[in-house]
């Protein structure tokens, strides 16, 4: 049990260091993906296969792909070099976090990892039982994000058929589907 944890932990640490030291954004992102997969292995080892699978599907498989997608589109090359001055703020904050981790490890207030496996059903029962409010709030937040993304995407589309918009002076901004507006233009 333990070798898996230490190997995965080491991979996660090393790859995370590589993320912040790489000049090439794609290489940095590749190490980031590796670090996420290593964390998934730690979850698997700790008896949480469902979380491990979600970590890979959502973070490594969806969110990081979008990061790579954006880097591919913008293709910034190696020009992204952060000057030393800009490191100071984040460095102090991370130092505080590190001290906290060291304190809690040395103080050994952390319990050892639970070995009993958590099944998807356990998680579902917890989410839709005692934590239902949290789920609903999260879904509300996501809906707000979706509406905002739709709105932002729409504004760009409106600039081209500007004459079409002026044909309906009475229509309030934000009404009508974009497809109908396209036909109007």
């Amino acid at each position: 049990m333990f070798p898996v944890f230490y190997v995965a932990g080491l991979v996660a640490l090393v790859s995370t260091v590589m993320v912040v030291t790489r000049r090439n954004p794609i290489h940095a992102l590749l190490y980031f993906i590796l670090s996420l997969v290593a964390v998934a292995v730690i979850f698997l080892d700790a008896g949480a296969p469902f979380v491990a699978a979600l970590e890979v599907i959502i973070y490594a498989g969806a969110i990081m792909v979008l990061f790579i997608f954006v880097v591919m589109l913008l293709n910034p090359g190696v020009a992204l070099v952060i000057r030393a001055r800009e490191w100071i703020g984040p460095a102090i904050l991370s130092l505080l976090l590190t001290l906290g981790i060291v304190y809690s490890v040395v103080g050994s207030t952390i319990k050892t990892m639970g070995i009993s496996a958590t099944t998807p059903k356990d998680i579902a029962m917890a989410l839709f039982g005692p934590y239902l409010l949290g789920v609903e709030l999260a879904s509300l937040l996501l809906l707000a994000g979706l509406v905002a993304a739709y709105h932002l995407g729409r504004r760009i589309e409106r600039e081209a058929p500007a004459r079409g918009a002026s044909l309906q002076p009475g229509a309030p901004v934000g009404s009508g589907a974009p497809s109908s507006r396209k036909e109007g233009a």
Binding site: I26, L30, P49, A53, M72
Partner: protein
């Protein structure tokens, strides 16, 4: 199952997959020939079957060239990611009672996780080649696979609701009386379409649309690296077929024949179906592909899921 036996099975499976992948290059060309009223490869050996060896020899002896302008480590890494991500999910597939590598209780999620990793193979190949056609292919692949992944996972959740488990072994055993394609016809069709898009087969092969962008993401690849992409396409097709068999067509179940043979026969029929689709349908336009995904299949998948949940709740299992 003992660990030693698991390891042996892993190696056997790997060898079989490589052979199947090689064989399929010939099967596909023969079947396409049949459906398009021509012969296909028929010179080397009986029915042209030795064409496979000729192809392998050709690929092995070709110059394995890495372009000067490419990002070398990523360029080499991309085909490896690709092949690993399509081979790994076979670890959770149940071939016959007792013949499986591991029965994870999140088997289906493991498949989805690995299938979401294949995007990196294509995207990184396109980016590392540092070639505009390869980059366009890579970007197309990312957008296409991310979009179709969403309802690829959701279309399988109907099966999970009915079976009440993510474990592929248990899903097969629950199909003792009725195969799930009868309960989940919509889920099956959506998964088939999403599977075509995820393996980038015609009619959804826009990342490598050879009439527009040379060969898309693998334009700069040659020799064995190209062969790895080629192979992983066929292994990916085998994977989707095997998964459809497990989830919708009762896995190894069937009368008279031994279970493993049933599994092979069902998978082979589905692979032939995939090839028939390629022979029959023209390539989609890119905006049509996106519109079909987000405006057609995603709402349909959600409706299917809602209906399945409601029915299961009403009957009370």
């Amino acid at each position: 199952m003992s660990p030693a036996l698991s390891v042996v099975l892993c190696i056997v499976l790997l060898v079989i997959l490589m052979i199947v992948g090689g064989l399929l290059t010939w099967v596909e060309r023969r079947l396409l020939g049949l459906w398009q009223d021509r012969y296909g490869p028929n010179r080397a050996g009986p029915f042209g079957v030795f064409q496979i060896f000729a192809d392998i020899l050709k690929l092995l002896t070709k110059e394995d060239w890495i372009p000067e302008f490419a990002d070398k480590p990523v360029f080499v890494l991309a085909p490896a990611i690709m092949l690993v991500a399509v081979v790994a999910p076979f670890a959770v597939i149940v071939f016959a009672p007792g013949i499986l590598i591991t029965d994870l209780n999140i088997g289906l999620l493991f498949f989805l996780a690995m299938s979401s990793m294949t995007v990196y193979g294509v995207a990184l190949a396109g980016w590392a080649s540092n070639n505009k056609y390869a980059l366009i292919g890579g970007i197309r692949a990312v957008a296409q696979m991310i979009s179709y992944e969403v309802f690829m996972g959701l279309s399988l959740m109907g099966v999970v609701i009915i079976a009440g488990t993510f474990s592929l072994g248990e899903i097969v055993e629950r199909q003792q009386s009725v195969w799930y394609f009868a309960y989940q016809p919509v889920g099956l069709i959506i998964f088939l379409i999403a599977g075509l898009a995820e393996t980038r087969r015609l009619p959804f092969d826009l990342p490598e649309a050879d009439s527009e962008i040379v060969a898309g993401f693998h334009t700069e690849y040659s020799g064995m690296k190209f062969a790895v992409f080629f192979l992983s396409e066929y292994v990916g097709m085998t994977l989707i077929s095997a998964l459809i068999v497990v989830l919708f067509f009762g896995g190894w179940m069937g009368p008279f024949l031994p279970p493993i043979l049933w599994f092979v026969v069902k998978t082979a029929v589905l692979i032939a179906f995939f090839i028939l689709v390629r022979a029959a349908l023209p390539r989609y336009r890119y905006d049509q592909l996106m519109e079909l995904g987000w405006k057609g299949l995603l709402p349909l998948t959600l409706l299917n899921l809602l209906a399945t949940g409601a029915v299961v709740l009403a009957i009370g299992k």
